[in-house]
């Protein structure tokens, strides 16, 4: 049984400026908000551009703002997003450069992640010759950028390193027992780094992978604050 959904999609083209287009879509409630967008592209408007790949929250490419909140539309079921006859207002991620329609340029995000250098997907399981139980857990951040979009601080400080990269930095310290390279440290311990956060916790609210970037930023702050205090009182080690 299909539902009748109204999609209000924010459109943008470099020459034509912005507008909102309305589409009527008939779709089963068990399919996703992203399926609806793909359906619009397939059957109604081939000019609509949007990003997507894995359709199960692992690639991190499809992030959007739906009804005012950052989501991964690939795991947002229609029935969880609205009701039969309901409306979905769809916009591109905020705080990113817009390319066209729902497509944003993720470059500013990946520049930050590359700076920290924490590999997100990596060889974590048993290699040939290793015992199968030498498996270790791996990182969950899918680099979707929802946190950067939701952050009210990034909104006014485009140089702010932002949640995911700061969370990655904390993780680097955790796995490498306390060490950050000088370059990374300079970027983190800086007015556009971890001290910029105002604890709105919006990154952790929207993160689809339970990374809790805000919690990690605060952990990093504690680490750095106590280290400074230690240095202040002249303690060694």
């Amino acid at each position: 049984m299909s539902w009748q959904i109204t999609y209000k999609i924010k459109r943008y083209h470099p020459d034509q400026g912005s507008r909102v287009d309305t589409f009527q879509v008939e779709i089963e409630p068990e399919r996703t908000v992203l399926d609806g967008i793909e359906l619009i592209w397939a059957k109604q408007d081939r000019t609509l551009v949007f990003r997507h790949a894995c359709h199960h929250a692992s690639c991190g490419s499809c992030g959007l703002v739906v009804n005012g909140v950052e989501v991964l539309p690939c795991i947002k079921l229609i029935q969880d997003a609205t009701t039969d006859g309901g409306t979905l207002e769809v916009e591109p991620l905020r705080n990113f450069p817009v390319v066209a329609d729902l497509v944003v340029d993720m470059a500013p995000f990946f520049e930050r992640m590359q700076l920290i250098g924490m590999p997100i997907v990596g060889p974590t399981g048993p290699l040939p010759g290793q015992e199968p139980d030498e498996y270790t857990a791996f990182e969950n951040c899918i680099e979707c950028g929802l946190c950067l979009s939701a952050c009210p601080v990034v909104a006014t400080d485009s140089k702010y390193l932002g949640p995911a990269a700061l969370a990655a930095a904390e993780r680097v310290i955790e796995v490498s027992e306390g060490r950050l390279s000088d370059e990374v440290l300079a970027a983190v311990d800086n007015e556009h780094g971890l001290w910029r956060c105002h604890a709105a916790f919006e990154c952790s609210e929207v993160c689809p992978s339970n990374v809790d970037p805000a919690g990690r930023i605060m952990a990093l702050r504690r680490r750095m604050t106590f280290e400074r205090l230690r240095r202040l009182v002249g303690a060694k080690g």
Partner: protein
């Protein structure tokens, strides 16, 4: 606050295309709609903080009346005892309590302490602030 204007620049990801860099969106400091408790805390704290700064200036302006002699000051004191003004005092108290108490909360979690408790802490702050406010209002209007 770095104030960047919206501007077009060359994209590396999509060669041959210009992308539109978003400008600074101060409005998002004041938009907690559909957001979590953390953002409500952030927005209220900021609004109250700015309000307090505004109050500080007003307060200094009023104090400067003193330099102009007895009459002006007496006139002001009469005004200050009017119900409307007392109501404004209550708003001021709300700002002080909200900002001060939440400030303590932010200072705590901002140092990495009780981070997981940021939501209950916010509720605690709100409850204490409301109780303080009621007590304060009773005091103001009964005096």
């Amino acid at each position: 606050m770095s104030s960047t204007e919206e501007y077009l620049e060359e994209s590396k990801t999509y060669p041959g295309h210009k992308v539109r860099r978003p400008g600074s969106q101060v409005s998002r400091w004041f938009a907690p709609w559909k957001r979590g408790l953390g953002t409500w805390g952030f927005v209220l704290n900021r609004v109250a903080g700015l309000g307090l700064v505004l109050y500080l200036f007003l307060h200094l302006a009023v104090l400067s009346l003193l330099t102009r002699g007895q009459e002006g000051w007496d006139a002001f004191i009469t005004l200050a005892k009017s119900p409307l003004f007392l109501l404004l005092d209550v708003v001021l108290l709300a700002g002080i309590l909200g900002h001060g108490l939440n400030g303590l909360r932010v200072a705590l979690i901002g140092t990495g302490l009780l981070v997981r408790w940021h939501r209950p802490l916010f509720i605690a702050v709100a409850v204490i602030a409301v109780l303080g406010l009621v007590a304060g209002a009773l005091l103001f209007f009964s005096a």
